[in-house]
Amino acid sequence: MTNVAVGLQGLTKRFGRTVAVDRVTLEIDQGEFFSLLGPSGSGKTTLLRIIAGLEDPDEGRIVIDGKDVTGLPPYARKVGMVFQDFLLFPHMTVGENILFPLRMQGAPRAERDERLGWIVKLLHIDGLEERFPHQLSGGQQQRVALARGLISRPALLLLDEPLANLDRELRKEMEVEVRRYQRELGIPFVYVTHNQEEALTMSDRIAVMRVGRFEQVAPKFEVYSDPATAFVASFVGHANRMRGRVAALEGGRATIDWDGARFAVPAPGGAGVGAAVDVFVKCERLTVLPSGSAAPAGANRLDGVLRDVIFKGQIADYIVARPSGVEIVVSEAASLPRAKAGDTVLITWAPDTGHGFPAEGA
């Protein structure tokens, strides 16, 4: 058999006139941690609900473990799911909640007990079985929801922004743990989030969604460092967007006119000389130097005045204002301890680290 755990083919879902999911085709591998990343309203939750069987697609097919499940109801699909607000059954104890999927499958008692013992240990929630959900903390509820999703070792686990309601510290901790469980169990996860950090931390691959469509589907590093579209470039990571015009095209490089200055980027596809382009440069790819310093050969250079330094510990954000007032943010190791607001500075970066795209709506 193939290594494909989930196959989506041309899935489309409309609500009235709006198209929530637009011809989505995708394959997710066994053991893969796959994230659907996008702003709210991009259709990622709808897509997840379609996979779970909670919504009917208008068009397209869903294959799970080599079996076409498009016409099957949710309860025949053998998937697990972790919901955004956890949706623990309020009338059941933690133990009953976790055992629910096994009970529905009619697993024998011995197996249930064994699995429950296993999962509560795995998720560090042993001792809570007799409590009711409302007696648990947010983190505990999260773990119970995960336990419920995992206990039956589903062919696929769907997670709908499960960490959105947790506080920052807990979220960081859970991000690591969720990733660990996924590795240990080898079950494919489809993880929906609007939080790029979550997606980048946990995923193997990421699909960036926008108004029902995939903008880019790629391993997370690629999505980060080599965005396929302007939307991906702006949504993943922190980048400076510079809208300018192509002044010249030469040897796979374009020279861009921007804000009274010129710099080079890899030539954007489909943009001729004179075309408007959006250039994205990740903040951490930029370097800020004292004015008059020597830049590396071939590097782009921009002048400016340091307006503010936001110290974050390991790194600092340097906010540099151009003469026109446009600001550029540079994230860098806190290497200019003596720099202060008002100093004139020089920003440099390697031309290849920028990404140019024909400007939208220009």
């Binding site: 041309g10 009917d56 697609p57 208008d58 068009e59 397209g60 097919r61 076409d68 498009t70 016409g71 099957l72 109801p73």
Partner: protein, 293 residues
């Protein structure tokens, strides 16, 4: 393109499977019979015999002769007053049960329903024996040499008490069920943000439980409008309500056509009441969690 989902799993199918039995039940066992009443309302009765002469006389009588509108008006006023009284009393009671009832709250609510195990005729008769001129109350007052309370005897006030007696538990139940799923923490949120208890109640508790309250109002108001038994026992010579006179048409005078017209009018008034209630409900502001919010 898409593999057609098996019919049974479609939400459309399920909606119909769940909803249609009730709707068909109403159509078969209420709508069809009611059509006969509507037809009768355009016919004529004479000496307990009904004749199929199509005419509008019944409606002319009911709507323009004033007599029947007097009863209708009396019923509406009674219903408004009784419903308002029930509302004012039921809210604190339901609130108490939902919030402080603890593990016994179900028992507390069921206890409100317990008197209903005794028929209305018997209870009204007993109520009359308690409130009447020689009832328990007045006899007790007499023992202490106090004058009898006249307002409890055979008048509209007494019949209002009787009607409230019959329907108040409906209101409490509806509000209680609404409060059962109400998150009382929200009140603390309001209070933390500077709302005094009353303010918190008016801006948070009340609007979030308005559907339950509106249902309670409906459950009391509509039966009140049609009430016939209570005024007969407690209302005295001038307390007859629309429902009593409606009953008279069918039970005693055999004037079915006129009675049918009265019934149709009552139905129309109820529809207006429901329309008004419906209009006050803004689903988005009531914490509605159903689909399509």
């Amino acid at each position: 393109m898409a593999a057609p989902r098996r019919l049974f799993y479609r939400s459309e199918t399920r909606f119909l499977l769940l909803g249609l039995p009730g709707v068909m039940f109403v159509v078969f066992f209420l709508l069809f019979p009611i059509v006969s009443v509507i037809v009768f309302s355009f016919w004529r009765t004479e000496s307990y015999e009904i004749y199929a002469d199509w005419n509008l006389d019944n409606y002319r009588t009911v709507l323009f002769e004033g007599t029947y509108l007097t009863f209708l008006w009396r019923s509406i006023v009674t219903a408004v007053v009784v419903t308002a009284a029930c509302l004012v009393y039921a809210w604190p009671v339901a609130y108490f049960i939902a919030k402080y009832g603890g593990r016994y709250r179900l028992l507390l609510v069921l206890a409100l329903a317990a008197p209903f195990f005794t028929g209305a005729v018997l209870r009204l008769s007993a109520l009359q024996a308690i409130m009447g001129p020689i009832g328990v109350i007045n006899m007790a007052l007499g023992m202490f040499g106090l004058p009898a309370v006249e307002f409890l005897m055979f008048n509209k006030f007494a019949s209002g008490i009787g009607i409230a007696y019959l329907y108040l538990p409906f209101m409490v139940t509806a509000i209680y069920l609404s409060l059962l799923n109400f998150n009382f923490q929200l009140l603390n949120v309001a209070k933390v943000n500077g709302a005094r208890p009353w303010r918190a109640f008016l801006t948070v508790t009340w609007p979030l439980n308005w559907i339950g309250t509106a249902i309670g109002i409906t459950l009391v108001f509509i039966p009140c409008l049609a009430e016939s038994l209570t005024p007969t026992f407690l209302g005295g010579p001038s307390g007859k309500l629309y429902g009593s006179v409606l009953g008279l048409q069918f039970d005693q005078t055999g004037t079915w056509a006129l009675g049918s017209a009265m019934g149709v009018l009552l139905f129309a008034v109820c529809c207006v009441v429901i329309a008004v209630m419906w209009w006050t409900i803004d689903l988005r502001r009531t914490g509605f969690t159903g689909a399509g919010r």
